[in-house]
């Protein structure tokens, strides 16, 4: 065979190498995979480059300063960073457990006839455009929340915990934003939890049942631990959506850009909403550059949180061979 190869012309050699098409297939899949890397690199480069002016002028310290006022040339981005993190965390804390419970219900407990319609509704929730969520938030949910939750809360618990206190005027607040975001990411988390739980092998459930476990123990001690990595993956996808959600957040967050609100019941701002709301009015280079810098920061926050989640999965799962990852 080796001699044989030497006698071939280059063209014949290539023909021989490629006659099964495997090489082409390999090449095509590789180039698509590399395209993703390229895209991330290009986006990273553009926002890195575009934010140069702002970075040189303020540096990272802008992220820890209050007071956003483009007219005076103050660009403290702390309110936006804080608002982004807080509203997303509220969303995750609410939608995480809820979504997992929905997934558990759909796979483990739901009667057969209810499964399909219920799944359909969960997926429908994901299909609603974010503007619609925003509108519903502004006209229905925010006023309701203000009258029936925020004001009573601020007058009671809020007297002790400033985080839930303050003067509730408008309905718009970081809390309401977090709740709306939670509803928006709920279907993502629920659908992924459902899929991941559905592929937990039955023998794991049976092993647990056979030692005399209740249904609850089977779910809590066998099914969920097995599916943990995948569920965390689903939560991260949801969190990513919450962090970057622009339209709904812009409509209900309240647009308080100049300071970090003392209370979750007061208006705030998120990075995505800040960029979207100011871009049309950004007439000088510094302002524009600062907005691009905010995009860069948002990018960074997403990356860091994803990294943390990945580490969480590695360490908590301690790499059991069989478990499911998303």
């Amino acid at each position: 065979m080796p001699q044989d190869t030497q006698q071939l012309t280059t063209w014949q050699y290539i023909q021989r190498r490629t006659q099964h098409g495997d090489v082409f297939f390999w090449f095509i899949t590789l180039s698509f995979a590399l395209a993703v890397v390229g895209l991330v690199a290009v986006i990273g480069f553009v926002i890195w480059n575009g934010s140069e002016l702002a970075r040189e002028r303020f540096g990272l310290s802008a992220l820890f300063q209050d007071g956003w006022n483009p007219i005076r040339g103050n660009f403290g981005a702390l309110p936006a960073v804080y608002g982004t993190l807080v509203s997303s965390m509220i969303a995750l804390c609410l939608a995480g457990p809820f979504g997992v419970l929905i997934g558990v219900f759909l796979t483990e407990l739901c009667p057969q006839w209810l499964k399909t319609p219920l799944s359909f509704f969960v997926e429908l929730l994901a299909a609603i455009p974010s503007v619609v969520y925003g509108l519903w938030g502004v006209f229905v949910f925010a006023p309701f929340f203000r009258d029936h939750v925020a004001i009573p809360l601020a007058n009671s618990v809020g007297q002790v915990f400033p985080l839930l206190g303050g003067t509730v005027t408008a309905g718009r607040s970081l809390m309401v934003t977090g709740i709306i975001l939670a509803i928006m990411i709920l279907p993502t988390i629920a659908a992924i939890s459902r899929d991941v739980i559905a592929v937990v092998p039955n023998h794991q459930r049976e092993a647990m049942l056979a030692v005399g476990a209740t249904r609850w123990e089977v779910i809590w001690k066998a099914v969920l631990p097995y599916a943990r990595a995948g569920i965390i993956g689903g939560m991260m996808l949801g969190l990513g959506r919450a962090l970057g959600e622009t339209m709904a957040a812009l409509m209900i967050v309240g647009g308080q850009k100049s300071r970090v609100p003392e209370s979750l019941l007061e208006p705030g701002i998120t990075a995505a909403a800040l960029i979207a709301s100011e871009l049309p009015n950004a007439n000088d280079f510094l302002h524009e550059s600062m907005l691009i810098f905010m995009a860069f920061v948002l990018f960074g926050i997403t990356l860091i949180l994803n990294g943390i989640a990945r580490m969480l999965v590695w360490y908590s799962a301690r790499g059991p061979v069989g478990s499911i990852r998303a």
């Binding site: 023998h203 049976e206 092993a207 049942l209 056979a210 030692v211 005399g212 001690k221 478990s323």
Partner: protein, 286 residues
């Protein structure tokens, strides 16, 4: 004890059915532990078991043999009500432990399963440490005392003939063990709460001959304290370890599982009453 030693070596493979019969005689007096009477089982409209009756004796090993699909697993899983959550599955007739019907209205499947250990066809350890796997059943039962748990775990692993192989790595993942070791850990898990009855569904089907012998050792060890029911495709295994044997077959028309013959293993293997049993045992059956 001699019984067990004999099984430690591969020579045990050559133990004949005749010897088995001799060992069987002293145990003749054991009382009925588990009574199956006119039991039929349905998956929806499909009749998987038809009118099965047998009496499983205390602290004996009862083997269920028969061709694939004849309902052996279905019967075994009916004994600890593993079908409860299968939609459309239901049983008819009676299965009683010590005279109490386990399908009675007031019978609690959770309490039932705590009295019965089960080992599955494929090793199915949890993605936890070896120790935690065995301790799981105990914790479900509400055990909290660490020392007591540790003691029982060791005792169970010894009974399952796996202690020497894992005693230095109890904290490492059970998934890192070989299939045969995993299966014996699963046996330890099943017997740790000291159930009264141990059910094993083809426990050796994934194992090599040496591991199989070790599991058989474990079964014979268990036989001193527990009532054991095994499903097996391996005729020699049934001959080697069991005291009683049930031979099942599928109804050729409806595919319902039938009990063809049930009796002392020695009789089934050397002197079957039914022609079909003889055909199956001598390998003349498909």
């Amino acid at each position: 004890m001699e019984d067990i030693k004999a099984h430690r070596s591969p020579l045990a493979l050559q133990r004949t059915v005749a010897e088995r019969t001799i060992g069987h005689v002293q145990a003749e007096s054991r009382t009925t532990r588990l009574q199956i009477a006119n039991f039929s089982f349905y998956y929806g409209a499909f009749e998987a078991l038809r009118d099965i009756s047998m009496e499983i004796r205390d602290r004996q090993i009862t083997a269920i043999i028969g061709p694939s699909g004849c309902g052996k697993s279905t019967l075994l899983r009916s004994i600890n009500r593993m079908h409860d959550d299968t939609p459309g599955a239901r049983g008819k007739g009676m299965i009683a432990i010590d005279g109490t019907n386990i399908y009675a209205h007031d019978a609690d499947p959770i309490m039932l399963r705590r009295r019965i250990g089960m080992v599955f066809q494929r090793p199915n350890p949890f993605a936890k440490s070896i120790f935690d796997n065995v301790a799981y059943g105990l914790r479900v039962l509400g055990w909290r005392d660490r020392n007591a748990i540790a003691e029982r775990v060791e005792q169970s692993l010894r009974k399952a003939a796996i202690w020497d192989e894992v005693k230095d790595r109890l904290k490492s993942s059970a998934l890192g063990l070989s299939g045969g070791q995993q299966q014996r850990v699963c046996i330890a898990r099943a017997i740790a709460p000291q159930p009264e009855i141990v059910l094993m569904d083809e426990p050796c089907s994934a194992l090599d001959p040496i591991a199989t012998l070790k599991v058989e050792d474990a079964m014979l060890e268990l036989r001193r304290d527990y009532t054991v029911v095994i499903v097996t495709h391996n005729m020699e295994q049934a001959g080697r370890v069991s005291d009683d044997t049930a031979f099942m077959l599928m109804d050729s028309q409806t595919r319902a599982g039938l009990l063809v013959e049930f009796g002392a293993t020695g009789n089934i293997f050397t002197n079957p009453k039914d022609q079909r049993t003889e055909d199956y045992i001598s390998g003349r059956f498909g």
